[in-house]
């Protein structure tokens, strides 16, 4: 087990390093000077030079990457070109809002998906199975930004029950009832994605497992439905965990569109702003933080899986 953990950890390091490299270089793909965002087009050459030195743009790329990485390791992601504020604190406060949204959506989506999928897989071919299959197809097919729009139309414009935009209060996230109302629509929109995929996964796994010989043997021994189901669930759990972990990661990165629809002050909205203002340090910071979160989540799943399923440890 210890060797396995060490192997996973060592394997994650080069990935994380690769992620930092991609996050850093990606934004330089575009033609054009990053200083265009702040310097007026007719700025004199010496001002441009001074700005270049201020932002470290006068040095060659590998040096810039090394310096950036070194500072990033200390939690310093530089200052936003557009606002001059610290990128790290901007990203972190936005990430908090996104995390609140993604956590609620993941909890609802994974929970409902597990129940639906298990019911459907257990009674494969029955009406619950058909309903669950339909829900999962809708879940993976629906453009969620459109779903958000439709939910806004129904619940905000027509019924007036829920706020259409923002996060309420001070703009930041806090756990109280008034702010919770702002969370309902974005979370309901976002939870559809993991729900469809988890339903599908659990259904296939359970349907596959209940036909195995050991389940037949358990039934033959006279075990109750609940007891048999426990065995089935134990077999399905590690894979479901892996898929759910990936989905939560996708939610963190994938909430960009939903956040735009609902003007949710999270990383997605921040990313959108950074792109259109061509704010390179901010862009790099957001991409880096979101990806490292995803990498860490994967590592966590990799560690949790063998704890649940001893068969994995041997590989």
């Amino acid at each position: 087990m210890f060797a396995y953990l060490l192997k996973r950890l060592l394997y994650t390091l080069p990935i994380a390093l690769g992620v930092t490299l991609v996050s850093f270089t990606l934004v330089y793909l575009a033609p054009g000077d990053p200083l265009n965002a702040i310097a007026p087009a007719d700025a004199p050459a010496d001002v441009i030079e001074a700005l270049k030195v201020t932002y470290g743009l006068d040095r060659p790329m590998p040096v810039r990457y090394a310096l950036w990485l070194g500072r990033a390791l200390h939690g310093d992601l530089g200052a936003s070109i557009a606002t001059g504020r610290s990128v790290a604190s901007e990203v972190m406060s936005a990430a908090r809002n996104t995390l609140a949204l993604a956590a609620v959506a993941a909890f609802v989506g994974v929970g409902v998906g597990c129940v639906l999928g298990a019911l459907a897989g257990y009674r494969a071919g029955g009406w619950i199975d058909r309903v669950a299959t339909a829900i999962s197809v809708v879940g993976v097919s629906v453009p969620h930004y459109w779903l958000g729009l439709v939910l806004t139309i129904v619940f905000s414009v027509h019924l007036g029950w829920l706020p259409a935009m923002g996060a309420g209060g001070s703009g930041g996230w806090a756990w109280n009832l008034d702010q919770l109302r702002f969370l309902v629509l974005p979370a309901a929109t976002l939870c559809v994605i993991p729900m469809g995929i988890i339903t599908r996964t659990v259904r296939a796994l359970v349907a596959d497992t209940v036909n195995r010989e050991f389940v037949v043997a358990l039934r033959a021994r006279g075990l109750s439905h609940a007891a048999v189901f426990r065995h089935v669930a134990k077999n399905a759990a590690p894979t479901v965990l892996a898929v759910a972990g990936l989905q939560i990661g996708y939610l963190m990165g994938g909430s960009i569109l939903v956040e735009t629809v609902f003007a949710w002050p999270g990383t997605g909205s921040l990313l959108n702003t950074a792109i259109f203002q061509r704010d390179i340090p901010l862009l790099q910071g957001i991409i880096l933080v979101l990806c490292l979160f995803f990498v860490a989540l994967n590592l966590l799943v990799d560690i949790a899986q063998p704890l649940m399923d001893p068969r994995i440890r041997r590989t």
Partner: protein, 309 residues
């Protein structure tokens, strides 16, 4: 990143977001009968058949838009803005600039469908080629290719698409590049895993012993076994690609106005949800219907080509 996961997942589930290469029982040579049997089975499956017909109608409406559409897609009218669904002369109402929505939806299908299919097709060719090389070569080359791609795998796909498109700047060709780059690693994984499985089989050794070169072994003995599963996987990506592409346009990173594209139309009509909400929702209905059609069709193709049945 999760090599174990792939083998642990049953083949039947293949949600696009999760890489699960269909582990085929490879044949010495691809048999014609398999595909003919699959076609026969597809025709017997009513859900697949209906979704194919719906898709066909949407594709036809987009393809023949210049002849079928009732109006000019770019002709704006200040006095006819945001007419409701069912107005005389404008069956599905008008958009925020007074352009006929039915016409815009038909024309919009052209770019939206193109952006669903083209990135996947490009990724299919590029990814299969890389996957074949990595899988057949094995050893350090395989390591180098697959570990590099693992880095791109560490990016959630929406984030990667938005980041690349955002870095390159708005525009249709840039979002095409972004989406292709998102799908290539996924296709490579499937192609590589199938190639690695096939490469270990005895008849490959036999071919090598009888003096066949690597290229002809890949072309004659490996390719036929790899294309099927990769194709099945790629069909599942089309709807993802369409939703992502429209999503990029929705963010303002894809197709630029005044061009008609469903995601962009959804974006520009957003401000109208307080005036005429159902007209504003229509482009999304098209994206939804099309991506659902592609998903159901992909499911049908997958179960029809599943050799275990």
């Amino acid at each position: 990143m999760n090599a174990r996961l792939e083998t642990a997942l049953p083949d039947a589930l293949d949600a696009p977001a999760v890489p699960t290469p269909a582990s085929v029982v490879p044949h010495a040579a691809p048999r014609r009968g398999r595909w003919r049997g699959a076609a026969r089975q597809l025709l017997r499956d009513p859900v697949t058949l209906i979704s194919a017909l719906v898709l066909l109608a949407i594709v036809a409406a987009a393809l023949f838009a210049p002849w079928l559409a009732p109006a000019d897609p770019y002709k704006a009218s200040m006095i006819r803005r945001l007419l409701p669904i069912g107005s005389p002369e404008h069956l599905l109402g008008t958009d925020e600039l007074g352009r006929d929505l039915l016409t815009r939806l038909m024309y919009g299908g052209r770019l939206s469908l193109l952006m669903g299919v083209l990135p996947v097709a490009l990724a299919f060719f590029i990814g299969t080629a890389i996957g074949l090389v990595a899988g057949y070569a094995g050893g350090w080359l395989n390591m180098a290719i697959m570990r590099t791609l693992d880095v791109f795998y560490a990016f959630p796909s929406v984030l990667l698409a938005v980041a690349i498109a955002g870095a390159l700047g708005p525009g249709m060709s840039n979002s095409l590049i972004a989406l292709t780059l998102v799908f290539v690693p996924q296709v490579v994984r499937v192609a590589e895993s199938v190639t690695t499985q096939v490469r270990r089989l005895d008849y490959i050794d036999a071919a090598r012993l009888s003096g066949a070169g690597a290229l002809s072994i890949i072309r004659v003995h490996v390719l036929g076994n790899v294309l099927g599963p990769v194709f099945v996987y790629a069909t599942g990506l089309v709807s993802v690609s369409m939703i992502l592409a429209s999503g990029l346009s929705f963010l303002g990173l894809g197709v630029k106005p005044p061009q008609a594209e469903w995601g962009l139309m959804l974006n520009t009509l957003r401000s109208a949800i307080y005036v005429n909400p159902w007209v504003a929702a229509l482009p999304g209905v098209m994206i939804f219907a099309t991506s659902m059609g592609f998903n159901l069709l992909a499911d049908g193709v997958r179960s029809a080509t599943d050799v275990r049945q």
